[in-house]
């Protein structure tokens, strides 16, 4: 039985939802796409579940001039359109009552002065000092500006309350930018106040990878270079760039997916078991993995990295244009829509095991998966009997669309002869759990307001990710010329095969 002498709150034991301190959340870029599609619906769903702090206010900050009422109407429309559940009218109206809007240019003083006034009013109304969280959901070039202005206005700290800043990706577009941005943000905020979003980390299936590895004794003895032959991580999309040409043409597949999400997945596969599941221990182990990956020299890049662009083709039974024909793409653009890397984690556990990463748009279908291929058995006694398709065991963790784990095993084909073929032993999350996974943003917003940084990227983690990717981007930029093409709706470019070591194959997408 607990007693009140304990420093922990004795009343939180057994509760699924831990208390979150009263908070005012400020969204910069409040009228943007991310706010409308993800952040506002996530906040509403948290309100619906009773998970928001019991005193919660939302302030939208954006350049467009509008009144509080107009912004509330926009919030309502966004929530009705994008929420994963039909809103309850009472909860929705209650949520909107606590919403305010501050217009202004991010490089001017006026909006920060008004914001300070609004925040102080909320504190006075509540009769206590509310925590503050600033969510930067703007174009990345505004991040340093907003942070600097918040600091200049004295909004980076607050007496008797926590102040946090949540920064959306991309965190820089190169190592140099990331270093500079970290310096600028750390000039104003402490690292413990900074929450760099990589929304993949908020996905249940990514978090479950740690449970899968560290809660099941059967895998750990095999999880090393002695038994694992290779690892393939794939993030394939069947869609093109849609209306995102402005963003994508400046970004490309490496920056968009590999530098952040896919390196995070690699870290989850390769990290050592942390001593505990505290934020620092988990992130320390991930950083060690990133440090064990050598940044390629420019002359090595063609051997370990491939990029390509989709050409016209067929997707979903329809003709689709090539990347260069998409609306908004620069003429002659050399932005890659497909990127693949072969990396090595050069440490005791993984030395010599290739990690293949590939990400692309307009591929045959949408799938995100991690395939761990084990080494073949040393001797196959049945081979003379004509076994069919015997393959090394493969463990496939699928993140989307159907989250689950598949283990490929060799099994005897029914009949009088001893013939073997691969079969699948499948586990699907959808069949084994009743609960609906929360949206990644719901989990991440709550964690940021609670001050738990476990699922956010630390400064040294971001920099280590860029140290791996930056030389590849520089080599590609300096090489110039037209990129290899692959047909839309296909398995990707044939040049991707050049990365594979002998005996290895890309898994079918």
């Amino acid at each position: 039985m607990s007693t009140v002498e304990q420093t922990e709150n004795p009343l939180v034991a057994g509760l699924e939802r831990l208390p979150v301190a009263p908070t005012t959340l400020v969204i910069f870029g409040a009228t943007g796409d991310l706010a409308k599609r993800k952040l506002l619906p996530a906040l509403y769903n948290l309100a619906h579940e009773g998970a928001l702090p019991e005193r919660f206010h939302l302030v939208g900050v954006s350049r467009k001039e509008k009144e509080d009422e107009d912004y509330r109407d926009e919030c309502e429309q966004a929530i009705r359109r994008f929420s994963r559940r039909k809103p309850s009218e009472d909860v929705l109206q209650g949520f909107l009552e606590n919403v305010k809007y501050v217009p202004g240019e991010f490089d001017e003083d006026a909006p920060y002065a008004e914001l300070e006034q609004v925040l102080d009013e909320f504190d006075q109304e509540a009769g206590e000092t509310l925590n503050r969280a600033f969510y930067l959901s703007t174009a990345p070039n505004f991040f340093p500006l907003i942070v600097e202005r918040l600091g200049a206005r004295g909004l980076s700290s607050h007496d008797d309350a926590e102040v946090r800043v949540i920064i959306e990706k991309p965190f820089g577009t190169s190592l140099q930018e990331a270093l500079e941005l970290n310096r600028q943000v750390l000039d104003v905020f402490e690292e413990t106040q900074i929450f760099r979003i990589d929304h993949y980390l908020g996905k249940e299936t990514v978090q479950n990878m740690m449970a899968f590895r560290f809660a099941n004794g059967m895998f750990e003895p095999l999880w090393n270079r002695n038994y694992i032959d290779s690892v393939q991580i794939t993030a394939a999309e069947d869609i093109g760039i849609g209306t995102r040409a402005g963003f994508y043409d400046q970004t490309g597949a490496l920056r968009d997916l590999i530098q952040n999400h896919m390196l995070q997945l690699l870290c989850h596969v390769a990290m050592e078991p942390p001593v505990s599941f505290t934020a620092e221990e988990v992130r320390n182990e991930k950083v060690k993995v990133l440090h064990a990956i050598h940044a390629p020299k420019s002359e090595q890049v063609p051997e370990i990295a491939v990029h390509a662009q989709y050409a016209a083709g067929h997707s979903g039974g329809e003709d689709v244009p090539g990347y260069l024909q998409e609306d908004g793409v620069r003429e002659g653009s050399t932005t890659e829509t497909f990127a693949a890397l072969r990396l090595e984690v050069d440490n005791w556990r993984w030395a010599g095991v290739p990690f293949y990463l590939r990400a692309g748009k307009r591929l045959a279908r949408k799938i995100t998966e991690i395939a761990v291929t084990l080494k073949p058995v040393p001797h196959l006694a049945f081979s003379q009997d004509g076994s069919l398709g015997v393959k090394p065991n493969q463990l496939v963790l699928t993140l989307q669309p159907n989250e689950g784990v598949t283990l490929q095993l060799g099994a005897k084909i029914p009949g009088s002869r001893m013939r073997i073929r691969s079969v699948n032993m499948e586990f699907l999350y959808g069949t084994s759990f009743m609960s609906q996974s929360p949206e990644a943003y719901e989990r991440l917003i709550m964690d940021a307001m609670r001050g738990d940084p476990t699922l956010f990227t630390r400064n040294d983690e971001v920099e280590a990710q860029w140290r791996i990717c930056d030389p590849v981007l520089q080599a590609w930029e300096s090489s110039g010329g037209q990129l290899p093409q692959y047909e839309a709706g296909s398995q990707g470019p044939s040049v991707a095969d050049d990365l594979l070591l002998d005996g290895h194959h890309w898994r079918a997408i």
Binding site: L11, A21, A47, G50, V91, G127, D160, S432
Partner: protein, 354 residues
């Protein structure tokens, strides 16, 4: 969640073996219709219900949506029945779409009578999916059936407010807790209240006030005395209070608890105006003058707080009510979890029985 398509089977004068074989056949049939049809494999639920109320129970279970048990076995009891009849269905919750999985839920209704009561275990046991946890629910009482089926279950679902005599409900839940995990809907209805009390005292500056709680008043639906007792039991067990029996005067229960430093006045009072089961409101006061009041309201709980200087603030704590169908679904979900605070709260509530 209503089923989009069903495969069904029924037989009069059947046996558990035949029912189990029929279920296997129905699953194979659905899977051959479309490889994306896959059986949910989360939880078995065995419900012992009186046949005349089986329609009402079916309606309640339909309302649980995605918390439908993977395999639901309804033992529908009609005392004078002599023959074992059964209906089985395997329902898909959506249309099959290429590349997607669609979950199948299995429901078996076994109609039985007095003569089968001694064999309940051997009737139900072959029907549950091996290696899945089994939740037992007997909404119409029938302790003899519960007793017979206990070896099959890892958890039992009950609603303490359903017992005609609330004090007996606490005794019964305690007795069952000795055997298996108890999911009590009366406890689940109090979750938002417990969360909010925990949140109020969570800031380090206020945590010390837990030691200074001087009084608690709870208002509850007239049938939900147990819910109030459990809430006080929860605070007492978490904060280390010593308890003694409460006094009953009309629709009010009152008494005291003893904390390390001071006595705490306890009061539970029926709120006849409240139409739904559960708590209507509560008030907690501390020796330093802080008061927290929570009242049920539209769109969430209405909070009223007075600080030590006498300043008052009111606000709404957002959250949608689950409704009674939602509570049953939550109960099924909770069968797969373990709340370590329920049993101590229940034991504390037992110490307060008048």
């Amino acid at each position: 969640m209503p089923a989009v398509s069903d495969a069904v089977w029924s037989e009069q004068g059947t046996t558990p073996d035949a029912i189990e074989a029929a279920l296997r056949g129905l699953l194979a049939e659905r899977h051959s219709e479309d490889g994306g049809f896959l059986p949910a494999r989360v939880l078995n639920m065995v419900a012992f219900v009186e046949s005349e109320y089986s329609g009402e129970i079916a309606n309640r279970l339909r309302g649980v949506g995605r918390y439908h048990a993977s395999r639901l076995i309804v033992l529908s009891y009609e005392p004078r029945r002599t023959r074992l009849d059964a209906h089985a269905s395997v329902a898909a919750e959506d249309e099959a779409k290429p590349g997607d999985i669609v979950l199948l839920h299995e429901t078996v209704i076994v109609e039985l009578g007095d003569r089968h009561l001694d064999d309940l275990l051997t009737i139900a046991d072959p029907l549950v999916v091996s290696d899945l946890p089994t939740l037992l629910w007997s909404p119409h009482g029938h302790p003899e059936a519960v007793q017979a089926l206990l070896p099959l279950a890892q958890a039992t679902l009950l609603d303490s407010v359903d017992e005609p005599v609330w004090a007996e409900a606490i005794d019964r839940a305690n007795t069952l807790s000795d055997r298996l995990y108890v999911v009590d809907l009366a406890w689940l209805r109090s979750t938002p209240w417990r969360e909010r009390i925990a949140a109020t005292f969570d800031p380090p500056a206020l945590r010390g006030e837990l030691e200074a709680i001087a009084s608690i008043t709870i208002r509850h639906h007239p049938d939900s005395t147990v819910a109030g007792m459990l809430l006080i039991g929860w605070l007492a067990s978490r904060l280390g209070w010593r308890l003694s029996p409460l006094r009953a005067e009309g629709d009010v229960l009152s008494g005291t608890a003893q904390a390390e430093r001071q006595e705490i006045a306890l009061r539970l009072q029926a709120a006849p105006e409240q139409l739904v089961r559960g708590l209507a409101g509560l008030s907690i006061e501390t020796a330093s003058g802080i008061q927290l009041r929570l009242d049920r309201g539209t769109g969430g709980l209405r909070a009223h707080q007075r600080d030590a200087e006498g300043r008052e603030h009111e606000w709404t704590i957002l959250g949608a009510s689950r409704g009674e169908a939602g509570i049953l679904g939550e109960g099924i979900r909770q069968a797969l979890l373990r709340d370590p605070t329920y049993r101590p709260a229940l034991q504390a509530a037992q110490q307060m029985l008048p």
